[in-house]
């Protein structure tokens, strides 16, 4: 086993363990911490896939902003921390069946497809290439601009919904 394979297994344990923790933890706060673990695990995969910039963005946005926001929301609605209400709803049997079927189908297909045996060479300046692609008019500046509209929507929307009457 090579080093990267060992790392892959460790990261898998983190990402999947965190994910299972979110779904099955009875305490909301623990679920949020498990979510952080899962996010960090995925960031590790990004490093393994040699996308260091995205790994950093993943940590900054998902762990630094999204997870923290969720924890804030948990604390803002304090009653939830103490009350560990019925965690699962009644449709869990059906849900598990549907999810298992989806998963089986995905794995069956994924394991049969031929994949490129070798990874493509990552250019040394991949980050600057990504940056150029994002703002170059010939590539992705348009979705980049559209994303700014999206952030404006979120800004206006979150303020108007959450502000006191």
């Amino acid at each position: 086993m090579t080093v990267s394979q060992v790392v892959f297994i460790l990261l898998s344990i983190a990402a999947l363990g965190g994910a299972l923790g979110v779904v099955f933890a009875r305490n909301l706060f623990r679920a949020a911490l498990a979510l952080v673990l899962s996010f960090v695990g995925v960031a590790g995969f990004y490093v393994l896939l040699e996308a260091e910039f995205l790994a950093m963005v993943q940590i900054l946005v998902y762990v630094g902003a999204i997870a923290i926001l969720i924890i804030f929301a948990i604390m803002l609605s304090r009653r939830m921390m103490s009350s560990e209400t019925q965690p699962w709803n009644e449709q869990w049997v059906g849900a598990v069946v549907v999810a298992a079927a989806l998963f089986a189908a995905l794995v069956f297909i994924l394991s049969r497809v031929d994949w490129p045996a070798t990874e493509a060479q990552v250019p040394a300046d991949s980050i600057s290439q990504l940056g150029q692609a994002l703002v170059s008019p010939d590539f992705y500046v348009l979705p980049f601009e559209v994303a700014s509209v999206l952030l404006l929507v979120a800004l206006v929307g979150a303020v108007i919904i959450a502000r006191e009457q």
Binding site: P137, L142, P143, V146, V153, V156
Partner: protein
């Protein structure tokens, strides 16, 4: 390092830019004008929407330009722009008095309405998985907020939560589907995916799984069975003017992107997706109609009816031919008028109930013809058109999509549609009967109906009559638009 300025032909996205700038303008004006002048924001918004509509029409010269494989201003996008802008303009007219009555924050209301409109237009224009996803999120997130904007009403907040949770869930499926398609095709551009599909021979199973997941994601947006469960609660809980807007706009945008992905990118795999859409279409119209039969609340009834209409419109897509596509486009255009109009009458009826928030049930409509004959005539027209009674727009729309389904070899689907239309006539006519045949109680508040709403209702009513009697010009436009998508 060399920095080049973008060399865009901004004219391609001029209608979207006009709507976006108007949204920003509304925000700024909102900050500088006094509290009692907020009503004027609606006029700013309306001017922007009308300007964008005029631009969309003016830009349509058959050249079908595209911006870097991201957005296109082809006939397909411009035609759908018109339907979306009709819905937005009507919604603004219907909101004039309603926003004040229920106490919505007008600056944010019109800003988000315009941003959502821009998202829908971008979605109609999107020719890349990235732009489709972003546009969908713009329109969805602004709709989540608009649904929950009535903060005095707890139902509104609940509806927003329900819509958000299920909407985000659907986005997850959509995105995963896009990821699988990207992996198989090696590109996110729809043209690239089309080329990959054409070159591929036997399609890879993952590509089809990806398409299936995307259909599920879009199916949620346009409320196809089995992704429809949020619709009645959200339509009922949302402010009625928002319901009028989203019941049309979100459907048009969802069908726009679904049409592009299925008919254009996966056009060569018709055999693989047509039967899925046909089954979904039959299920959707049946479930929607059967549930609508049992509703006493008109907002809920119209919610189920809108599910049924998504099923009818989908029949045009399932037909998989040019007639079906132009039929779908005509359907969406006609639907914009009749459905938004029906919700407008509910807004008007609520006016007579004072602050109780009533005016939504069948009983509230009893005897409306005696009290407000004009409103009753308009409502009767909308109901008959939704039921598909000739010679109104709704009848022709159904004729086109079912006719296309027959030509596409889906005779059983057309039969299903006709039977369903007959069933649906029962609950639409029940409203008409209630207005004309039953004794009503006098209005709690004998208030006049807002002039803007009257104008909007009159326009919508005239439009469905004209579309029914002289469909020629719009049908021709729809045909050109369909050819822009399918190539012809």
């Amino acid at each position: 390092m060399e920095i080049s300025l973008p060399t865009f032909d901004f004219l391609v996205v001029a209608p979207e830019i006009v709507v976006l700038i108007t949204a920003l303008l509304v925000m700024v004006v909102d900050m500088v004008i006094g509290r009692e002048q907020k009503g004027r924001l609606a006029w700013v918004a309306l001017v922007g929407v009308l300007a964008a509509g005029a631009l969309s029409y003016y830009l349509w010269d058959g050249s079908d330009p595209a911006l870097h494989d991201m957005l296109a201003a082809d006939g397909y996008a411009l035609f759908l722009n018109l339907a979306i802008l009709v819905a937005a303009a009507l919604a603004i007219l219907f909101s004039l008095e309603y926003t004040g009555r229920v106490g919505l924050a007008q600056g944010e209301y019109y800003t988000l309405l315009l941003l959502s409109t821009a998202g829908m237009m971008l979605m109609a224009a999107a020719i890349n998985l990235m732009t489709i996803f972003l546009a969908l999120e713009i329109l969805s997130i602004s709709l989540y907020v608009l649904v929950g904007l009535n903060r005095a009403e707890r139902r509104s907040a609940e509806a927003a939560l329900k819509y958000f949770v299920l909407g985000a869930f659907a986005s997850g499926f959509l995105l995963y589907g896009m990821a699988l398609i990207y992996g198989q095709a090696g590109t996110t551009s729809l043209a690239g995916i089309r080329a990959a599909v054409q070159a591929g021979g036997e399609p890879s199973a993952l590509l089809l799984v990806g398409l299936g997941l995307m259909i599920a994601g879009f199916g949620f947006k346009v409320a196809l069975v089995p992704f429809q469960m949020w619709t009645p609660d959200v339509y009922q809980g949302a402010p009625t003017s928002v319901t009028a807007f989203m019941s049309v706009g979100a459907k048009v945008a969802g069908f726009a992107a679904l049409g592009r992905v299925a008919l254009y990118a996966f056009g060569d795999l018709q055999g693989d997706w047509r039967w899925v859409l046909a089954v979904l279409s039959a299920l959707t119209m049946t479930v929607g109609n059967l549930a609508a039969l049992r509703q006493a609340n008109l907002k809920r009834m119209l919610a189920y009816s809108s599910i049924a209409h998504a099923g009818y419109a989908l029949a045009g897509l399932a037909a998989g031919n040019a007639q079906g596509t132009s039929g779908l486009l005509f359907y969406l255009f006609a639907y914009a008028f009749m459905n938004a109009g029906a919700f407008a009458i509910i807004i008007a009826a609520g006016r007579f109930e004072g602050a109780t928030g009533g005016g939504e049930t069948l009983d509230d409509f009893a005897g409306l013809a005696a009290r407000k004959p004009g409103l009753a005539v308009a409502m009767a027209l909308f109901m008959l058109s939704l039921a598909g009674v000739p010679p109104l727009a709704g009848f022709l729309a159904k004729l086109y999509v079912f006719g296309a389904a027959v030509r596409g070899g889906l005779i059983w689907l057309a039969v299903f549609g006709v039977v369903n239309s007959v069933i649906s006539a029962y609950y639409y006519l029940r409203v008409v009967v209630s207005m004309y045949m039953r004794e009503g109680r006098p209005a709690a508040v004998p208030a006049p109906v807002c002039a803007g709403l009257q104008v909007g209702v009159a326009l919508a009513a005239v439009a469905i009559v004209l579309l029914g009697l002289w469909p020629g010009p719009i049908v021709d436009l729809a045909r050109v638009a369909a050819l822009a998508l399918l190539g012809g």
